[in-house]
């Protein structure tokens, strides 16, 4: 059926008409006795068929629509037992007997897999295989061991009788019904599991349909249980009517869900209007997030040919890089930005791509282009500063090694040379050996200090608190510590450590302070570090202060660093989010 793309109205009308007319005709013998139930019956058949066509028209749901159309006609056949004996001729009773329950299986399949075009889990597929085996196999077996009249049909109807056996028939029928109850309840469980694992937009999409499936599964199993335990006819009749009414929920749910999705698609049009008002990349990101219903979506801009950063200039995290990358082509076809979208939105790829195109077009306009350029300039400056700071740091380490430990060790070497020379000539080498020993001591101390400056071992092994205790102990003024004992991600611990060390070094060098205080607290996934002194103030990011380089490091972690300084001291504050 190639209804997609065109208006579905004609196809829906044709299929619904066929379904409605056949349903009305098959209810003819019962209209006078059961008018209300008949009306529900006609509605269920018609709406199943109509929603099937509607689903086929929405190309993203695959063949789920066919399942609903098949379910419509199976449902229709499942009620032929209401016919008078004179209608129950030829194959009709056997068809109703064998295929009546198929509406439940095939409809359940449609409900479980919507809005995906296929079942995603192996156990779900296995479930439907068992379901099919059960309703075909057991029904065939029952037909083989029974006469049509035992099942309430005209004795002259076509049947598959091989060895009629009344008690076997009774037992098999009961077992069949118990099986159906179990299968119906398992369907409920599968639907609940599906709700549990779905997220965001996907959950909103499938919720109405899944809820309908759960309701049908429950009430269907009640109804069959009522039959099985031969509850009084009023109860069975009422449950039958309620189950029929519940079945109506399924097509309505499909309709609601599909309408929601069409509305979302039309919101791209609203998006274009909204984007026109955006003055920053962040605005664009916010608008796209809302339209796509993905609050974690990231608009990433190209900082270099192979490198993207968030629109706030942060480097992308591993999780963000693993997302679905949708290019945002600009007017001239160049990709200046990408959207990093939750993979769940892949099935709405048309919507996502339209949104990306709409977003890409506005990135060309003046204000946003300026914002983009400004952001990138900032990113590049920051990356350059980080690279330069890294280089300067390496030079410093080399210089320290060269001037410190290396020279000491060379002197150890010359002292030992000297000692050997003396010993060979029978003179006392002990003074030279002692010098060598002292120099070795000193060299080791130098190396330890240097190693600590590169990366203090205790930080990686024990965390920020013990590492900072060591730092405080080596300071020449008293330092009060109030540091969380929680372990933080390595890059955060390391950055905080160096910021705090640098801030404390500045305090000692410049602030003429009598006392300093370090406070590191973790609250609501955000770590706040504060170094306060009571000195003469005047600290800043300029003038070769190591804090400027460290601010860049803090910013790559999406954090923020501020310095408040005045006559009665300085406070350096770092705030970093921890995921």
């Amino acid at each position: 059926m190639t209804v997609q793309g065109k208006s579905p109205v004609r196809a829906i009308a044709v299929v619904s008409l066929i379904a409605a007319v056949t349903a009305i005709l098959s209810w003819i013998p019962t209209w006078s006795a059961e008018f209300a139930l008949g009306t529900i019956y006609v509605f269920v058949v018609t709406s199943f068929a109509a929603s099937g066509v509607f689903l086929l028209w929405d190309r993203s749901t695959g063949r789920t629509g066919w399942a609903m159309i098949v379910a419509a006609f199976c449902y229709e056949a499942s009620w032929w037992w209401t016919w008078p004996p004179e209608w129950e001729i030829g194959p009709a009773p056997l068809i109703s007997f064998l295929f009546g329950y198929w509406w439940f299986a095939v409809g359940g399949l449609a409900l479980l897999r919507y809005p995906e075009p296929v079942l995603s889990r192996r156990y779900e597929r296995a479930y439907f295989v068992y379901f099919a085996i059960w309703i075909v196999g057991v029904k065939l077996f029952i037909a083989a061991v029974s006469e049509p009249e035992w099942a309430g049909w005209n004795p002259h109807a076509w049947w598959l009788t091989i060895v009629p056996n009344r008690s076997l028939f009774e037992t098999a029928s009961a077992v069949f019904k118990i099986g159906i109850i179990v299968l119906a309840l398992v369907l409920v469980v599968l639907l609940l599991l599906k709700i549990r694992r779905s997220r965001g937009l996907e959950r909103a999409d499938s919720l109405p349909v899944t809820a309908a499936g759960i309701a049908i599964g429950f009430l269907g199993s009640f109804y069959i249980a009522a039959q099985l335990f031969h509850l009084p006819p009023p109860v069975t009749d009422a449950l039958r009517t309620i189950t029929a009414l519940t079945a109506l929920i399924a097509p309505i749910a499909f309709l609601i869900s599909l309408t929601q999705r069409r509305l979302a698609r039309s919101s791209v049009a609203d998006l274009v209007v909204r984007l026109a008002d955006c003055t920053s990349l962040k605005d664009v990101q916010t608008a796209l997030r809302e339209v796509l219903g993905d609050p974690t979506m990231v608009l990433a801009v190209q900082a270099s040919p192979s490198h993207y950063v968030t629109c706030e200039g942060y480097p992308l995290t591993g999780g963000e890089l693993a997302r679905w990358r949708v290019p945002m082509p600009s007017g001239n076809g160049r990709t200046v930005a990408v959207l990093l979208v939750d993979h769940a939105l892949r099935r709405r790829s048309d919507l996502v791509r339209s949104a990306a195109v709409a977003g890409g077009l506005v990135l060309e306009n003046g204000l946003l282009r300026d914002d983009l350029a400004a952001q990138l300039a900032q990113v590049q400056a920051s990356r350059r500063r980080i690279a330069e700071a890294g280089l300067a740091e390496r030079r410093r380490i080399e210089r320290n090694l060269h001037d410190g430990a290396q020279q000491l060790l060379l002197r150890v070497m010359s002292s030992l040379s000297l000692a050997r020379h003396r010993a060979q000539r029978g003179r006392d080498p002990s003074a030279a050996i002692e010098t060598a020993g002292n120099d070795l001591d000193e060299a080791l101390a130098e190396l330890r200090n240097l190693a600590r400056g590169i990366h203090p071992a205790v930080l990686g092994e024990m965390g920020l608190q013990p590492a900072l205790e060591g730092v405080a102990d080596r300071m020449s003024i008293p330092v009060t510590l109030d540091v969380t004992a929680d372990r933080l991600p390595d890059p955060i611990e390391e950055t905080l450590y160096f910021v705090i060390c640098e801030a404390l070094t500045n305090v000692i060098r410049h602030a003429e302070a009598g006392h300093a205080e370090v406070r590191v607290t973790l609250r609501d996934d955000t770590v706040v570090a504060r170094v306060t002194d009571d000195g003469r103030g005047g600290a800043g990011f300029d003038g070769g202060s190591g804090l400027a380089g460290l601010r860049d490091r803090v910013e790559t972690l999406r954090g923020d660093m501020t310095i408040a300084t005045g006559g009665n001291g300085t406070t350096v504050t770092v705030v970093i989010p921890c995921e």
Partner: protein, 213 residues
């Protein structure tokens, strides 16, 4: 022998001075930098100046200082010491004029005989290139290497030649007759496609260039 020491780290300089004195070498001057050294030796030049190649935080000022010394005191030998064995430094030094220059890694203070030998060669107007540098050049992998054409003995001769030894020096080091050494050298130059250089030190430079590729 009389030497002047220039090194911006007092620590090492004093250690070296003690060692040299122990070897019976007179340390006439100690200086922090080029200017101090030139002022110090102006009236009373030593036989050899031992100088750190890095005289400040910036880099290889020692090379510059070597040129100044050579201009003012052509007869003073120059032995540069470096914390790192860098071929580029050695070649630069030799290119500046190859009489009485040497380039040693500072670690050689641990091997008195190497240090002494180098000092004497430099004082005698010859060349002394750190064995580590030559060894590393000869061990360089993956080049079109006619070096493989050399016999084991020839390779040893080449190594000593590259370190700056004269024919005589090579002969002494390898316990060979001078004639044998000359034969080897002739063969080496032929195999490597090098032109015979009359002067010992120009020969060192040619060999180093060749080894550098």
């Amino acid at each position: 022998m009389r030497v002047a020491l220039t090194d911006d780290t007092v620590l090492f300089r004093e250690g070296l001075a003690a060692l040299l004195r122990e070897l019976g070498i007179e340390v006439t001057h100690q200086a922090d930098n080029e200017r101090e050294l030139l002022a110090g030796i102006a009236d009373d030049p030593p036989d050899v100046v031992i100088m750190d190649i890095r005289l400040s935080a910036h880099g290889a000022e020692g090379l510059h200082a070597a040129e100044s010394i050579r201009r003012r005191h052509p007869r003073v030998g120059i032995l540069l010491l470096s914390a790192y064995a860098e071929t580029a430094y050695a070649v630069r030094l030799l290119e500046g004029g190859a009489t009485g220059v040497g380039y040693l890694v500072k670690d050689r203070v641990g091997r008195v005989e190497v240090l002494e030998d180098a000092l004497h060669r430099v004082a005698g107007g010859q060349t002394a290139i750190d064995p580590e540098i030559v060894q590393r050049l000869m061990d360089r992998p993956s080049r079109q290497r006619p070096l493989d054409l050399l016999s084991g003995q020839e390779r040893k001769v080449l190594q000593h030649m590259a370190e700056g030894r004269s024919n005589n020096g090579v002969a002494e080091a390898l316990f060979l007759s001078q004639k044998t050494v000359e034969k080897h050298i002739l063969s080496i130059f032929k195999k490597l496609g090098l032109e015979q250089q009359g002067h010992d030190n120009r020969r060192v430079l040619a060999v180093l260039h060749w080894l550098q590729g």
